[in-house]
């Protein structure tokens, strides 16, 4: 089991449980968590599932791949931080139980 907490820009929180083959993005979509759009369905092509990993989790989640980093860099009108990740690229496993991610105020428009 992995419990993932999503924090909205207004500070409200939602914790969801994963036991299926989901990514951080799929878990949010399946549980109607606001602010993660995932327009391209998880193909690293739209950037609309962008999240900030809570600093204390950043090491364990790890950095984006080269392709993902290139996508993040290309996003317009969105604040990119060192902890930025595309949530569709984070496959969930038990080691991420307790993970906290912050949802940015806006997702890029496409």
């Amino acid at each position: 089991m992995a419990k993932i907490t999503y924090i909205q820009p207004d500070g409200s929180e939602r914790t969801c449980v994963n036991f299926e083959g989901m990514t951080v993005m799929h878990l949010a979509i399946g549980n109607l968590v606001d602010g993660i759009d995932a327009n391209c369905g998880g193909m690293m092509q739209c950037g609309t599932c962008h999240v900030y990993i809570a600093p204390e989790w950043a090491d364990r989640v790890g950095p984006p791949s080269t392709d993902e980093a290139a996508m993040l860099e290309a996003l317009d009108g969105v604040e990119i931080r060192p902890t930025s990740r595309l949530s569709c690229q984070i496959q969930l496993g038990e080691e991420l139980d307790g993970l906290v991610v912050e949802i940015p105020p806006d997702q890029p428009g496409i």
Partner: protein, 465 residues
Amino acid sequence: MTTATLPPIDGGAPFLGHLLPFFRDPVAVLRQGYQSKGKLFSFGIMGRRMNVMLGPEHNRFFFEETDKLLSIRESMPFFLKMFSPDFYSFAEMDEYLRQRAVIMPRFKAAAMKQYVGVMVEESLNLVNRLGDEGEFDLIPTLGPVVMDIAAHSFMGKEFHEKLGHEFFDLFRDFSGGMEFVLPLWLPTPKMIKSQRAKKKLHAILQSWIDKRRAAPLDPPDFFQGMIESKYPDGRPIPDELIRHLILLLVWAGHETTAGQVSWALADILQNRDYETVLRNELELVLGGSDGGNLGWEQAIAMQKMDLALRETERLHPVAFILSRKASSDIERDGYTIRKGDFVLLAPSVTHRMTETWVEPDRYNPERFNAERDDAQIESNSLVGFGGGVHRCAGVNFARMEMKVVLAVLLQNYDMELLDEVKPIAGAGTYWPAQPCRVRYIKKARSDAKGADIAEMAKAAGCPVH
């Protein structure tokens, strides 16, 4: 680098390998592999090596490596024949992404709200057809309802007047083109039937597109939206693509969901204790109604039904294997999978491994109840809808639809199974074998009103509402 292949299953004929046993009973071959060789094993089919991976860790590897070490496009050649080389995951990557961008937003969980009404309407149509009492066979009865829901949702309300259940039969023939085992050039009767049905379906769909172009529906439904939709760069979507997309949605939604919802009802009727739990939940949420008051909020509130559907997905995953092709040599736990080999996940076996599940053969939906200390909810353990980036795009639609069909049947009838339930033989989608008849009789309904779900949810601070 090691050169050892994944441990091969014993037996198998020269060249044909395990073709015949796999053709007869694929899940038995996979189970034999697990029992004799463990979580990693292989077998041959006509010179092609099939590498099977079982359990949550390997599931995760498979999901993470799809589109990297593992290719999904080359693993399903039948798809090419049923659709087109320029379509969806067979298209060039750029084109695939453009097409996916058109489809995905329509399946977001929140977009499901608009379909619940259609699901309820079609389920109540079934109740009308069934009347007060009688017998029905699971697949031939629930299959058409699932098709009605998909066709009504994706092709508009008018499909009823125009086609009725001829569509269901055409789709059954079309689905026959899903061929995992035999070479696709082989002119088997089911392959010929499939190609003939495909042609007919395309002709019918094109005539509907032409009609909608001449007289657009306002406000637009899904079909109208599809006809008018454009690629992200502003070009209109060609008609051929619209036809393929609609066929894909109706086909993918029907083939799998018809089987899954049939299994779900069979499981419930074989487990009367849990049937009572579900009926109590329904009484609370819907009161004594025939299901006509079932909306988005009520469906979300049916949490026991959610658990029941997950347990059926675990015990009877209709997509009982998922396949990929290795795009380069892969090392895994000291073994080598060669470039070009097939790599398979087997939910049908993974979902019953004693390493992961307590009493794996027992129907126990509460195992998924995350609020229990003994819940069995390891990540990547339940994979009936796949996982990773290519996880089923229609999962929210399918779960909602199954909930609605089951809720409406349970609200209206007392039911019992007349036949023993067993899986269909052969390497198609894993449906319950026919006949699997249910005897039903209209049940006495209480006068209770359904709970005010919105108020309850607000009181509980549920953020969905």
